[in-house]
Structures are given as structure tokens and as C-alpha cells.
């Protein structure tokens, strides 16, 4: 199991991939951070919230995460190396978990770079630490669940580009599902609205970013991740049965 984790990390870090995606993330973070500062009204005290930065970065991030996860299973199929994994004495569940952990590791590497911004800010002003930590926890849980989603989509197809595109569309839909649920049209059907809101990750992230850690939100992200990983496992097994 560790061998697969190690190999996945090698494929991220021995190639420019992990660095390029981290650089892109930091570039976007800088852009959002910079525009938040530039947009401040000229008053005697400069106040802006990091949570807002995280909130805005979510939108850009849904285009980055599928790029991270797109190759997970699609490339294994494309190069025929899936056979190697499936015929080795490692269970499919372990393969899924190792790959998931490797993706999460790269994700941690990505967000680790962003710590630089609060540090610089703290050196020249005050940062509300509790709020910042909550925002990081929320951002991390959100990312982990969407990594599991990206992996699931990658297990559906042989083309990593297609996996990225479908992943981006799916994440876009999930990010804006609550906006959609609050439209006048959906509000006519309260039951449907409730169902849609049950999938809304954005509002849960809002609580985190405001400094609330609610058990229900944590459970939402954890259970979402578990369900998506289990689904990935089922999808791989199912394809082995149906493969033509």
C-alpha cells in the first residue's frame, strides 16, 4: 500500500506537476489577496478578512482540483498499468486509499504555501487567528471531499482531459447548487429545495470561514469523502466486470 502512495508522490514531485499546480494556486491566491487589499476603502484602519480571500479562492480552486485528480485512474487505464495494480496482491480498496492519500498530500503542499500571506500580514498588523484556523480547516475539508469527487470522475474514463473537464463542471454545479436552490423557481418546491441544499458545500464552508466548527459540517465533509471513495471503489470493480 505504501509503495503505491510513494509512487504516486514520485509522479507528482519528480515531475514539474506538483510545483506547477502549486505555483498556479499561489498565483491565484496572490491575485485574490492583492485585489482584496487594493479594493479596500481608504480609511484610518485597514480591515479585511482572510476568510473572504478563501471564499473567493474557492471559485478558482474548482478549476485546479480536477487537474490534480484527473490522472489518478484515467492514466492507469490509458497506459495499461491498471492490470499491474489489479493483479498485484493489494486489494482495490487499498489502491484507492493510497491514491487518495497521495492526492491529499499534494493538496496540503499546495495550501501550505498560502500560509505565507497570513504570516506577512501578521508581521505588519493583526490576524484573527481563530478565524483563520477555522477557515483553513474548512478549506481543507472542502478540498479533501472534492479530491474524492475528482478521483471518482477519473475512474469513469480513460481520458484524463475528459476527467478534468467533467470534474470542473461537477464542482462548478456543486459550488453553486445553493444559489440555484434559493432561486424563486426551486423555492416553489420546498422538498426539492431541501434535497438540493443537502448537497450544498458552500454554505457549510461559510460557517467555517466565520469561525464556527459545527459537528454537522464536519460530518458532512467526512461522510461525503467516504461515500465518494466507496463509490470510486465500486466504479473500478464494476468496470472490471463489464469491461468489453
Amino acid at each position: 500500500m505504501f509503495s503505491i502512495y510513494k509512487k504516486e508522490l514520485q509522479s507528482f514531485f519528480y515531475t514539474p506537476f506538483a510545483y506547477a499546480i502549486t505555483a498556479l494556486f499561489l498565483f491565484l491566491f496572490t491575485y485574490v489577496f492583492g485585489s482584496a487589499i487594493a479594493g479596500l476603502e481608504d480609511t484610518s484602519t485597514l480591515v479585511f478578512s482572510f476568510t473572504e480571500v478563501f471564499y473567493n479562492i474557492l471559485f478558482y480552486f474548482i478549476f485546479l482540483l480536477p487537474i490534480l485528480t484527473m490522472r489518478t485512474f484515467a492514466d492507469e487505464r490509458k497506459f495499461g498499468t491498471e492490470v499491474l495494480l489489479m493483479t498485484s496482491p493489494v486489494s482495490v480498496m487499498k489502491i484507492v486509499i493510497s491514491k487518495f492519500l497521495a492526492n491529499v498530500t499534494v493538496f496540503i503542499f499546495m495550501i501550505a504555501g498560502s500560509v505565507l500571506f497570513p504570516i506577512i500580514t501578521a508581521a505588519n498588523g493583526t490576524v484573527v487567528m481563530s478565524q483563520l484556523i477555522c477557515a483553513y480547516i474548512g478549506f481543507f475539508s472542502w478540498g479533501v471531499m472534492f479530491i474524492a469527487l475528482g478521483m471518482l470522475i477519473s475512474s469513469f474514463t480513460e481520458s484524463s482531459v475528459l476527467a478534468a473537464i467533467i470534474g470542473e463542471v461537477m464542482m462548478f454545479v456543486l459550488l453553486f447548487i445553493d444559489d440555484f436552490a434559493y432561486t424563486a423557481f426551486i423555492s416553489q418546491y420546498p422538498k426539492l429545495q431541501n434535497v438540493l441544499l443537502a448537497f450544498a458545500a458552500q454554505s457549510r464552508f461559510t460557517y467555517f470561514s466565520q469561525g464556527f466548527i459545527r459537528l454537522s459540517d464536519i460530518i458532512f465533509f467526512i461522510s461525503g469523502t467516504i461515500v465518494l471513495l466507496a463509490w470510486t471503489y465500486i466504479s473500478i470493480e464494476k468496470r472490471r466486470w463489464n469491461r468489453g
Binding site: 503505491i4 498499468t81 493483479t87
Partner: protein
């Protein structure tokens, strides 16, 4: 020992493998022969535990691969049709990753990687990216991967494809060496290769087993009767009549004039070739005809193969049914009887 019982695979409604049963004994190289699309790769994928079977059981040393996959897979080395290599890894990296995947203890991994690299002569490319290797090298890296951890059973799907003739010879000799303490199942559509390497062959077409037998037996049963070529110096008419009248000669197939007074006869025999040849020679000599050359043309596996795969799979007449049953060995026979 690998036991395969009533293995069947459907892709949707399309039947790829139809109720096949056979065993792979210890220290045996079993050839798996069939045209493209015969179900060879599907069968091998099922034996290696990559594809689940629709029906049937595969037991690796008594362990059912669908019940206890992890335990069963520990004893298998598998080289699929397309070598399962990661293009963005170096050869050495790839092999040590595979060693880890096969749960070879950390301390032994390096030695194991060196052993297989040496065996397949890929040491000189160990630092190269697999992406940059030629097809032959990729194939050998894939083969090296299958040998890691010295698994008892090796499943090799067309291991010599893409190699140059020199490498083909080397790989064949490696496979032959493996026979000492391994069981190998080896697929190919190159007939000469199978007859050189394997002790037993399975001929498969359209998902059905057409024959399981030793090569010698297959050749003698299916190759048709022997053809003897005799080159003589002397009168054409005398020789022809002498040959025709000799006991055991079925017919003269052709007479070619090689030079003045020198003819080559192709004669179909019916019976023991050695005996007929001796009597032919003495008859001709008694009639003062000089024999320049005499040789028998062996029926080859190619003919056997073509004949077997072109047979209709379903028996339409009683005669055809008997024809089918006689040459195959007992295990295939019983499965065929079940079908009927």
C-alpha cells in the same frame, strides 16, 4: 498447480470464453495457441485475477482467486499483452515500485531488482525513462516485473512480441530455464515458438478449446499421413512402377525432372514410415536404380493449427463428433461431452 474449471466469460451478450477447463501442472510450460481474438488474453486475464469470470473457478495451488484474491495473487507473475509500464518512471524506479507492490521485504528489493535486470539484460537502461525505451526494451522491463519475487506461476501473454530475433532467442531460453521450478503458461500465435518452448499446448479458437495435447501427439494425429521424397537416377517409368508397387505406398503425388535421368518423387505413405522407406530402398536397388536423396516431410504444427481452428466448433454430424473426440485428451473430452 493451477486448475481451471468451466471458465466462461461474457462481455455483455458476447461470449469471449466458453466453458473451458484445463490444468497447468508444476514444472510445465503450457503453450496457449490461437488466432487473434480467440480469447487467449481474456483467459489469461481471468487466471491472473484481473478480470472476474462470468462463471467457473480458477484455483492457484488450491486457492480460489475470486475468493482469496490477495493470497492467490502472491504466487503469480503476470506479463499482460501490453507491458504495464509507467512512461514517466525510470526502469530502476519502476522495478523497485513493483517489488514493493509484490510485498517483497524492503531489504531484499534491491537484490531482486538487480537479479531480474541481469536476467533480462536491461541493466544498461536502468537509469533511463521508460518513455524513451524501444518496444523491445519495454517488453523486457514488463517481463522483468513479472519475474520479481520469483513467483511460482508465470502467466506470459505474448512475451516475445516486438523483440528482435536475438532477443527472442534469449527470452525463449529464459522461459525454458524457468521450467525447473516454475509453471509457465505462455501464449503466442507464433507456432514455431510454441513447439520449441512448450511441452503441452492448448489450441483455442472463438472461446472454445480445440485441443489439449503434447506437440508430438498433435502432429502425428492431425498432420495427415507422411510424405516421402525420393530422388533417383535412372529410368522414370521403372522407378515409378517400382515405387507404386511397394507395400505401404498410397500414391505418387508428383514427379519432377531435376536433370537428365534424375527425378524426384513425392510419395504419400500409409503406415510405418521407417519400414516403408527400407523396403522402398531395397526394391529400387534391386531394380538398379540409384537413390540420390531420400527424406520424409514432417507434418508441422502449422498444419495442425490451421486444421484445428478451421473446424466447426459445433458438431453437426455423428462422424464429425467422433472425429472431434478421438484426438483430444481426457479432460477436454469430458468437457465436450458435457456440452452435448
Amino acid at each position: 498447480m493451477i486448475t481451471i474449471e468451466n471458465l466462461t466469460k461474457y462481455y455483455g451478450s458476447n461470449r469471449a470464453v466458453n466453458n473451458i477447463s484445463f490444468t497447468i501442472n508444476d514444472n510445465e510450460i503450457l503453450g496457449f495457441l490461437g488466432p487473434n481474438g480467440a480469447g487467449k488474453s481474456t483467459t489469461m486475464n481471468m487466471i491472473a485475477g484481473y478480470l472476474p469470470m462470468t462463471e467457473g473457478v480458477v484455483k492457484i495451488d488450491g486457492v480460489d482467486i475470486s475468493q482469496e484474491p490477495v493470497k492467490a495473487k502472491k504466487n503469480i507473475g503476470y506479463l499482460p499483452e501490453i507491458p504495464p509500464v509507467y512512461p514517466d518512471m525510470k526502469v530502476k524506479e519502476y522495478l523497485s515500485f513493483c517489488a514493493g507492490l509484490k510485498q517483497i521485504p524492503r531489504g531484499k528489493r534491491k537484490d531482486e531488482v538487480e537479479r531480474v535486470s541481469k536476467l533480462l539484460k536491461i541493466e544498461d537502461v536502468s537509469g533511463k525513462l521508460i518513455r524513451n525505451l524501444s518496444k523491445g526494451y519495454k517488453q523486457r522491463v514488463g517481463f522483468a516485473q513479472a519475474l520479481l519475487g520469483d513467483p511460482k506461476f508465470l502467466i506470459l501473454d505474448e512475451p516475445t512480441v516486438g523483440l528482435d530475433p536475438n532477443q527472442v532467442m534469449e527470452v525463449r531460453s529464459i522461459i525454458k530455464d524457468l521450467k525447473k521450478d516454475h509453471s509457465v503458461i505462455f501464449s503466442s500465435h507464433i507456432l514455431s515458438e510454441v513447439s520449441e518452448v512448450c511441452s503441452r499446448v492448448i489450441i483455442i479458437n472463438k472461446g472454445d478449446i480445440r485441443a489439449i495435447d503434447t506437440i508430438e501427439h498433435l502432429e502425428s494425429t492431425f498432420g495427415g499421413s507422411l510424405v516421402l521424397h525420393i530422388r533417383v537416377k535412372g529410368s522414370k517409368t521403372v522407378s515409378a512402377s517400382v515405387i507404386e508397387l511397394t507395400k505401404g505406398v498410397k500414391e505418387i503425388l508428383s514427379i519432377d525432372e531435376i536433370a537428365a535421368d534424375e527425378y524426384e518423387f513425392a510419395v504419400r505413405l500409409d503406415g510405418d514410415a521407417d519400414e516403408i522407406r527400407t523396403s522402398l530402398m531395397s526394391e529400387l536397388m534391386q531394380n538398379k536404380i540409384n537413390i540420390v536423396e531420400i527424406f520424409t516431410e514432417r507434418p508441422n504444427l502449422e498444419n495442425v493449427f490451421i486444421e484445428l481452428i478451421n473446424r466447426p466448433a459445433r458438431k453437426t454430424s455423428l462422424e464429425g463428433l467422433l472425429d472431434e473426440i478421438v484426438p483430444v485428451d481426457s479432460s477436454a473430452e469430458s468437457s465436450k461431452k458435457e456440452e452435448n
